[in-house]
Amino acid sequence: MTDGQDMTDQTAWMLAVRDARDKAAFARLFDYYAPRLKGFVMRGGMDAALAEEIVQDVMLTVWHKAAQFDPERAQVSGWIYQITRNRQIDTIRRTGRTMPEELKHEDDHEPDAGQVLAMEQEAGKLKQALSRLKPEQRAMIEKAYLGDLTHQEIRDQTGLPLGTIKSRIRLGLDRLRHELKELREP
């Protein structure tokens, strides 16, 4: 499943970075994500110079931590989103962000093509669903994931379509259960 035929370009580039340390593929990831990242960080209220610092750090983290990318569990933009928020929170808070325990990775295991594709299809559906929201709902979703809403504010936004996101949750659950079991029984 390394021919990348059915994967999005982003996933194929990311796997080339992860498995072959392919700098050309990284350059393509950069061209695609760096301007979007800059836009994302600036919408969160940061000026252009600081935003570029964050873009630089996040993209270098993508390169250095590529081994942690697992296309069966995450999709590239979701993985980069999480790295970006970690980096932003590091600038705001004294203490770093507390993350869950990492699941164990089996080295050299061949990714399950069906699972990777299912993940990408879900991501596509989720994007479509978000794009069909009413403008004010979309704006609220954007604010929530930019980190502009407190937990209380998210709770109070009863119109926030969290159900749209929840519909994806079934996916990957069996696999996660399996990996969690392995984590518990070393």
Partner: protein, 212 residues
């Protein structure tokens, strides 16, 4: 593991994925996610939604040198990260991190109930609670939110029964008296964003002393 029935409420999981929960709640959520496949999948769904916002929200042109600067740094050594603390016994990685990889320092609250404070500040407090089998935690309400995650044993209160991995999220509406189940002592990770209010006089007098 598969028996977890009380999960993280959706708005809280969204706030966690966006990184906007106060540290004391964030630690409880990270600990529950470490134990619960359902909520880990939920967290990843929220990260995926965050990814969609990142991808679709609009791009801004970069300054000319940025790409070359980043590509030139690829061969520089990666910054060293401290390894994240690993699970030890009943304490998942995020709890070990809050314990700074040390054993809990238990202090008695009387009647066999003990606590070990992990964080305490204006944004709330985080503690481990140790409740002997069959013992009650003094009747209390709270001004804000209280999260209680079972790490060992079980407890039950007016709202239901909670076993290992189960999370109770209580708000100011709930006055409850959790009672530890039979069997192993109940050990919980508990976070509040405001001081608890005890109803009987004695614990109320002791409250400032014990910082509960």
């Amino acid at each position: 593991m598969s028996d977890i029935t009380h999960h993280i409420p959706e708005p809280m999981l969204a706030a966690y994925a966006a990184g906007t929960l106060p540290p004391v709640f964030e630690t409880v959520v990270a600990t529950h996610v470490s134990m619960c496949a359902t909520c880990r999948a939920g967290m990843q769904a929220h990260e995926m939604a965050g990814g969609a916002v990142l991808e679709e929200g609009g791009a801004v042109d970069l300054s000319d040198a940025l790409k070359a600067d980043v590509l030139a740094l690829l061969d520089a050594p990666a910054p060293e990260d401290l390894p994240a603390p690993k699970r030890k016994g009943i304490y998942p990685g995020p709890v070990m991190a809050a314990l700074k990889s040390r054993e809990p320092r238990w202090k008695s609250l009387g009647m066999g109930v003990r606590q070990s404070i992990l964080m305490d500040g204006p944004d709330g407090s985080l503690r481990l609670l140790y409740i002997p089998p069959g013992r009650a935690v003094p009747d209390h309400g709270h001004n804000g939110i209280e999260m209680t995650l079972v790490l060992q044993g079980s407890f039950s209160d007016e709202t239901g029964a909670f076993g290992v991995g189960d999370l109770e999220v209580a708000d100011e509406e709930l006055d409850h008296t959790p009672v530890a189940g039979e069997g192993l002592p109940c050990i919980c990770l508990a976070a509040t964003d405001a001081p608890l209010r005890f109803h009987s006089v004695l614990p109320r007098l002791l409250q400032p002393l014990f910082r509960i």
